[in-house]
Point group: C2
Chain length 533, copies 2
């Protein structure tokens, strides 16, 4: 039965792309059922020694992998890559001349430039011999040179090519802890920090720690960033969904979380943690302080770990909201190590820096026992350490140039330029979506995405059904075909059944936004005209 299911699922995956956007919606259907249809029983088939059957096939691989879905790099992206090749080999074959990847928060792929100071320091640490040469002073800012020396000095033996401590270089963790303390106004400890290759491995590590079987559950917002559903599937646990309220700007309502927790418990699921993404991905809301306080109290009472995805902490676009880390909130309520277990994820891939390719990030763990901490250290050790450039960059984003440093002004200009532009793009695109017939779109208060709702005509829904795909997948697919714009169907993130969305980043460069808006409008009008009831 299990193998049959896996094989059927795999067949869906392998259908020609034109009719195969189903898995995303199938995944969403899995998502919203809190009792997983999946079991990890050990009904292993007999050893295969026939030379005709390949020894490894989708029928006999780990079924958790078949179950796992990851929409932001899913089939629509594979299709986009094919279109891009087509455009290269046959320019003019499509009504557009480039593919615009609005599927993923990857700012530099769309032309955002890196922060100069950060790259200067990285280059100097990559080739420290430069530091001994006179010409270097003509090529690099003086504070980048100073910073590179400081970083080399905290590396044992100044060895920039050595494995570090499994949690990351102690001196860099000290810098990060200082940056966290300055941000929050509460102390942070280098021993609580685990540097990782981006935030994703940190999330996997926590899922691996907490999930023993499908009887263990993790409360996740719906819509959610699909790393969470993918990681829970890969580690054999159960995603317990709580729905964000679209009508109140994707509000996180505690009554809904409570209801879902009780429901999961009544089904025998041990709920271990609550994921909160703040600012929200794909939903862009920024939590209010009061809301965060009630979440902390709730998790404390219910014995839930808070897994706080805080990678968009620098991406806030509205004046009336501010980022507060969950640790700051908990400490300001008087709660310490003994009261609540908290994990904060941070990444160098987001913010104004957008250094996705560097794979730097960390998690700050508080409120875990020494015994559990040792086990986490052990898992970190099995992968030896995260990459040193990523570690250095994490220390830089948490300790950027300060007033008085040579780079300070240019740094502030670069940073503000990016953040103010992102705010403008968020607003323009939000207004564009809201101007479309049958589309409503909440404001992106933060993060890098809009998640507009599509009120699709009945005929479009029927057409999707006939094509064995989800209506929002049909829409995304048609949008790509007509305009080259890549967005992700809402079904890849989870959504209230019967509602349809797309996620679109706000990342294309500003000079491209007017063309995007007009292509989007033109496409949407044609789409609605074709399917209007």
């Amino acid at each position: 039965m299990l193998r049959r299911f896996a094989a059927d699922k795999a067949k869906h995956l392998l259908r020609p792309l034109c009719s195969s956007l189903l898995p995303a919606s199938a995944a969403a259907a899995d998502l919203v059922s809190s009792s997983s249809p999946f079991c990890t029983s050990s009904s292993a088939p007999a050893a295969m020694s026939s030379t005709k059957t390949p020894p490894v096939s989708v029928e006999n691989i780990n079924p958790k992998i078949i179950k796992c879905e990851y929409a932001v790099r899913g089939e629509i992206v594979i299709l986009a890559q094919r279109l891009q090749q087509e455009l290269q080999s046959n320019p003019g074959s499509r009504p557009f001349d480039e593919i615009l990847y609005c599927n993923i928060g990857n700012p530099q792929s769309l032309g955002q430039l890196p922060i100069t100071f950060f790259r200067e320091v990285l280059a100097l640490c990559d080739h420290p011999a430069l530091l001994d040469k006179d010409q270097t002073h003509g090529l690099f800012s003086s504070d980048a040179i100073d910073r590179a020396w400081k970083i080399l000095d905290v590396m044992p033996g100044r060895a920039t090519g050595a494995y570090s401590h499994s949690q990351g270089i102690k001196g860099l963790r000290d810098l990060i802890a200082a940056g966290i303390a300055a941000r929050d106004g509460f102390p942070a400890n280098a021993d609580d920090i685990f540097l990782t290759d981006g935030a994703s491995p940190a999330v996997h590590m926590m899922m691996q720690l907490l999930l023993r079987s499908e009887k263990d559950g993790i409360l996740c917002p719906i819509p959610q960033y699909p790393l969470y559903s993918a990681s829970i599937a890969l580690h054999g646990g159960t995603l317990v969904p709580y729905y964000l309220n679209e009508a109140t700007g994707w509000g996180l309502e505690l009554s809904e979380v409570k209801k879902q927790l009780e429901d999961a418990r009544s089904k025998g699921v041990t709920v271990r943690a609550l994921v909160v993404i703040n600012p929200g991905n794909p939903t862009g809301q920024v939590l209010a302080e009061d809301n965060q306080r009630e979440i902390v109290d709730f998790c404390k009472e219910e014995g839930l770990v808070i897994l706080a995805d805080e990678v968009y902490q620098e991406n806030i676009y509205v004046d009336n909201k501010k980022f507060h880390s969950f640790k700051k909130i908990a400490r300001s309520m008087g709660y310490g190590e003994e009261d609540i277990a908290l994990v904060s994820f941070q990444s160098v891939s987001k913010g104004y820096y957008g250094e996705c390719g560097k794979r730097g990030g960390y998690m700050e763990l508080t409120g875990f026992t020494a015994e559990v901490r040792e086990q986490i250290y052990k898992i970190a050790s099995v992968n030896l350490c995260s990459n040193i450039s990523g570690q250095i960059l994490a220390s830089l984003v948490m300790n950027p140039p300060q007033e008085g440093d040579e780079s300070f002004e240019s740094y502030v200009d670069e940073k503000d330029g990016i953040l103010l532009s992102l705010a403008r793009r968020a607003k323009t695109l939000e207004e564009a979506f809201n101007s479309l017939e049958g589309v409503t779109c909440n404001r992106a208060e933060g993060a890098m995405y809009l998640f507009p709702r599509l009120h699709l005509p009945h005929k479009a829904i029927e057409a999707a059904k006939a094509a064995k795909t989800a209506p929002d997948a049909l829409y995304a697919r048609r949008l790509l075909d007509a305009t080259g714009i890549v967005v992700v169907p809402g079904s890849g993130f989870g959504q209230v059944p019967g509602t349809w969305h797309i996620r679109c980043t706000i990342l294309p460069q500003e000079d491209k936004i007017p063309a995007i808006v007009s292509r989007l409008k033109e496409f949407h009008e044609a789409f609605m005209a074709e399917f209007r009831d």
Copy 2:
């Protein structure tokens, strides 16, 4: 019962270090039993909501984590780190003035310098603005500048800070495929290459793919690099050991592999793959071509994937042995994609480059169906991509400077200097171990380690028993205390029961080797004098 076991195991881990080296030997005992004592049943305890018990404890985390052991970063290293702090705060408190980390293949941590050309290219790619400046030509070699341009040109949009394709940047995979083809004399395909953050994540990916439950087994050499035992434990499978023959220079004997395969099958284990580490870690042997051919034939007949750990392919120190990749061997036997599934792991951390901190590496996958390949692509996608500096470095080590390039001579000097020195160090240390009473040591034909056998006096074994530790762990611990030299007890790698070994890298710089040898001899004589029967 399961929870009790986990909790007991955890208690061992947490004992004061002086008596807690037991887990390594306990792990070894687990290793050599092909039917795992572990089960993944879902006897989850009830939800914990009491405020007194912490919600996360060693009793309720994933038991696979408790089971996992990783000796090369284990307790002896934690102890060494403490001693190092002690030396810093209280110099002169010990009979040595530095800790010599011979526990791990981490060359640059012991003073090996990076290859200049590689670092020049990395620095230019990290800060491409340098390429537009005149002074750069005075600071960098012309071929490093050319190479940086070539690399930037294969990056979509020249974006060095963007997430790449999930398998790595296509243009870099093309370069790596060309390097593999030049090495082997058989074609290689960029689509078969998955770039990863070092080799470890690639190994995890394959274990995650192949292991469904404890009924699935992986044949691993004993002694083995503990990444394999750790990864199999974390993914809930069973390690099926095959013993290397110490008497024949750690020979891989097919009769032993067959016997263990049959034994495992008779116990209901589905054996999915055979791990071969060539050159060997921790054992240093280099496989003969004939031996590799029979391994290929055997795996083909038995339907086993070959997981070939080929990260030491550049580290060969004897004239009568040469590295041959398993893919080259299989292709030279006339076997193609249809005949055998093969994975080759490579890393930028080893070889003469030793760039451990950069976390670059790849796996080359051949002989898998398109359907399975799509599933592997999906897992790679969940982590987005490996770090770009590591990707660039992997392309460089597979395509170093060529004759005629400005850097060629200095590159060859640096490379040969490192490899010839490693060969001398391997020989000197091997002779030193063989000169010790009761110690026999096979030659390190390749890789970075010696794995001498300790024939310990009965009294030493009794003393270890009384201290609840393994005899080789007692030896390693005493060695550290007396000399500051960190080695790993053989029990962390697995060994024939009743035999005892240590693993010692050949990586300390040459000027330190005489002092190491004399400290080692002095310690060993004192140890033997203390325990002689």
